[in-house]
């Protein structure tokens, strides 16, 4: 009898719980999407950590327009096909805001679906095409490859004048776009690339490329692509008795590069937005992340900022309807942990900053 009583209490509890969740359906669903699995899963992890913290903080302060936020997580594994199905799934979940995707090649096809479903999105994808297709729902909270490529290319031309430079990409939308811009930026400043090649991402053996670089006496590698391949190229270059300086894009900010390159990462430079961790407005949040044993590097703070962006835009618009949100996002200025964000007519960041960093041990520092 006693156990029956317990069961009854438990069941009542469950019933009440169900009641509450039923009520909670009025919550706003916001979503993130990116490579939660696959070779670039570490970036997905950063986005997830940032967004989870942001949603928890926003909910702790009473949510958005009196409603709690519920975070949906989509995994596209950096695969354009999977990105499309993630986008469709998210549309079915009736999300009101999307932060993602991460890989440009995923963001581009997925954004068409969000556009059709009238869901505003904030992305960190840097390929120019992301905002060049006339979509009104997309807002880029990071700079573009033509900007960072130009800065990287200019830096190479002025700091490595007279040296042989190879421009290599990984054939991805992001990598090829960035490499093209770097080559353009260099050439504009009077330094022509010695080699222009592409590799296949996801392999382990780049010794063929390394010996080609070696035979051409290349000293500087301008690389468009992700950090995992750079780590392998650096290791194999070392093994072949070769010293390479690498210039890459924002993806090189991932500290996985340092561990994976086995002590050869100090020669890696990259362009990235000015370190948000140094932003005084972010100090509180940075401390909070560190208390939770999460180093807020790379995309962590950007994911946090994207959620803040939604919260502020919805508060300004007093609505989460697409028309109102879209208007608020495109006309307003938002104070986030990565600085003040405002967007131009195409949805690009109005004042994007890129600076050149270099890895030193486990940290990256700005270089002049």
């Amino acid at each position: 009898m006693k156990s029956n009583m317990k069961q009854l209490i438990a069941m009542t509890g469950l019933g009440l719980g169900a009641l509450f969740t039923a009520q909670a359906h009025a919550d706003y669903s916001v979503a993130i999407a990116g490579p939660m699995t696959g070779a670039y899963a570490s970036a997905g992890e950063q986005i997830k950590r940032g967004a989870e913290m942001a949603v928890a903080d926003i909910n702790a302060k009473g949510g958005v327009l009196g409603q709690k936020l519920k975070l949906e997580i989509g995994d596209d594994a950096c695969d354009p096909k999977q990105a499309v199905s993630v986008a469709n799934a998210m549309v079915n979940k009736k999300i009101v805001f999307m932060h993602g995707h991460w890989c440009s090649s995923s963001t581009i096809p997925a954004s068409d679906i969000y556009n059709e479903a009238q869901i505003p999105m904030a992305t960190v994808s840097t390929n120019p095409q992301v905002t060049e297709r006339g979509l009104k729902n997309i807002f880029r909270i990071m700079g573009r490859d033509d900007q960072q490529g130009g800065i990287a290319g200019g830096y190479i031309a002025s700091h490595f004048a007279g040296k042989k430079v190879a421009v290599i990409d990984d054939k991805s939308a992001y990598g090829k776009g960035l490499a093209d811009e770097m080559a353009k930026g260099m050439t504009a400043k009077g330094l022509k690339p010695t080699l222009r090649e592409s590799i296949t991402a996801g392999e382990k053996d780049y010794s063929g490329l390394v010996s080609k670089l070696k035979a051409a006496n290349v000293e500087v590698l301008a690389y468009g692509g992700y950090h995992t391949e750079v780590a392998l190229i650096l290791r194999q270059a070392k093994q072949a008795g070769m010293k390479l300086t690498v210039m890459g894009g924002d993806t090189m900010s991932n500290n996985e590069l340092v561990t994976a390159a086995g002590g050869n990462a100090d020669s890696v430079m990259f362009t990235f937005a000015p370190d948000a961790r140094a932003n005084p407005a972010a100090a509180e949040v940075v401390k909070q992340f560190r208390n939770a044993k999460v180093e807020p590097d790379g995309y962590v703070l950007y994911a946090y900022a994207a959620m803040q962006l939604f919260q502020q835009a919805a508060t300004q618009a007093k609505s989460v309807k697409y028309g109102d949100l879209q208007k608020a996002l495109s006309s307003g200025t938002f104070n986030t942990v990565v600085g003040k964000l405002s967007f131009d007519a195409k949805g690009n960041l109005k004042a994007p900053g890129f600076v050149v960093y270099q890895w030193k041990g486990n940290k990256y520092e700005m270089v002049k």
Binding site: S42, E197, S207, G208, A215, A231, L232, G262
Partner: protein, 305 residues
């Protein structure tokens, strides 16, 4: 130019040895039960992950002597990976022994996805690096300013592969297990009638295939120094191609196929473009299959009446 040629020969031989070792597992399993074990690439990945774990553990215990550390790692990896190979066969393939040919194939793909996700969830998605265990190597010679390097790890891979091939050939051609294995390949029903435990022989085949993949996994870990849960896919596809190129079912063919693919990749990316090296590999595969449908060293299938 000579320098770069020799360098690529060394690089290609190293890469080809690894492909060959994995390809042997594919071809053995195909030979005996006529299915492509798509989970084989993931067995190789598991061995690489085990190698990283063991090496890190040994490092923290202070066992730094390279030969000792390597030997322990090899033994542990072979034992654990063999258990994986055996279990995969027991769980996913044996219950489907008499089902249609398609069933175990699907089961294999499922197993591959399962293993990959299991490792990702339990070990995390991040790449796992180790410090260079055998850094350095010989500088062979310099021609036209190009110094040819032969890394210790490359010597190790080529030497270990050569030794394994000798042992493996002896095992298959001279021992009683080898005879049973070849008998099962020819006719399983007849072999069973002669009192040989066919299931056990098949299990052993999976164990040996897994052990070879384990060696490849350990060596790749030491050579490239970076491992993650997704390495099994590309390596598996390449090794499978090697097995088909050499003639699936043929053991020397698998090794030959592996070496050829390693060489093509290595030379094509050094002299032409790294972008099209896979195209070159697969064009060659198509050409070979057009003129020799059963592969370079494969026996043409005889229709049994």
């Amino acid at each position: 130019m000579m320098g770069q040629f020799i360098q690529q020969l060394i690089n290609g031989l190293t890469l080809g040895s690894v492909y060959g070792l994995i390809a042997l597992g594919y071809t053995m399993v195909y030979g005996i039960i006529g299915m492509i074990n798509f989970a084989h690439g993931d067995i190789y990945m598991i061995s690489a992950i085990i190698a990283v774990t063991v090496l890190t553990l040994l490092g923290s215990l202070g066992i730094m002597a390279v030969p000792v550390a390597l030997l322990i790692t090899l033994v542990v990896a072979i034992v654990f990976t063999s258990v994986y190979g055996w279990s995969v066969e027991r769980i996913a393939y044996r219950p489907l022994r008499n089902a249609s040919r398609l069933a175990p194939l699907i089961s294999a793909i499922g197993m591959s996805i399962f293993l990959q996700n299991m490792v990702q969830l339990t070990q995390g998605a991040r790449v796992k690096p180790i410090n260079a265990l055998l850094p350095g190597g010989f500088e062979l010679f310099t021609s036209n300013g190009f110094t040819v390097h032969l890394a210790y790890t490359q010597i190790m891979i080529i030497a270990v592969t050569a030794v394994l091939l000798v042992v493996f050939t002896y095992l298959i051609t001279k021992t009683s297990f080898g005879r049973q294995q070849r008998a099962c390949e020819q006719d399983r029903t007849m072999t069973a009638l002669l009192g040989i435990n066919v299931d056990r022989t098949i299990s052993m085949t999976f164990v040996i295939g897994a052990a070879l993949a384990a060696v490849a996994g350990v060596m790749v870990t030491v050579y490239y120094g970076v491992v993650d849960f997704s390495i099994g896919f590309v390596a598996g596809i390449k090794a499978f191609t090697a097995a088909v190129l050499g003639g699936i079912g043929s053991l020397p063919g698998a090794m030959l196929g592996g070496l050829i693919i390693g060489m093509i990749e290595s030379f094509w990316s050094a002299y032409l473009s790294p972008e099209y090296k896979d195209v070159a590999t697969f064009v060659l595969l198509i050409l070979v299959l057009m003129f020799r449908p059963s592969g370079l060293l494969g026996r043409p299938e005889v229709e049994k009446v």
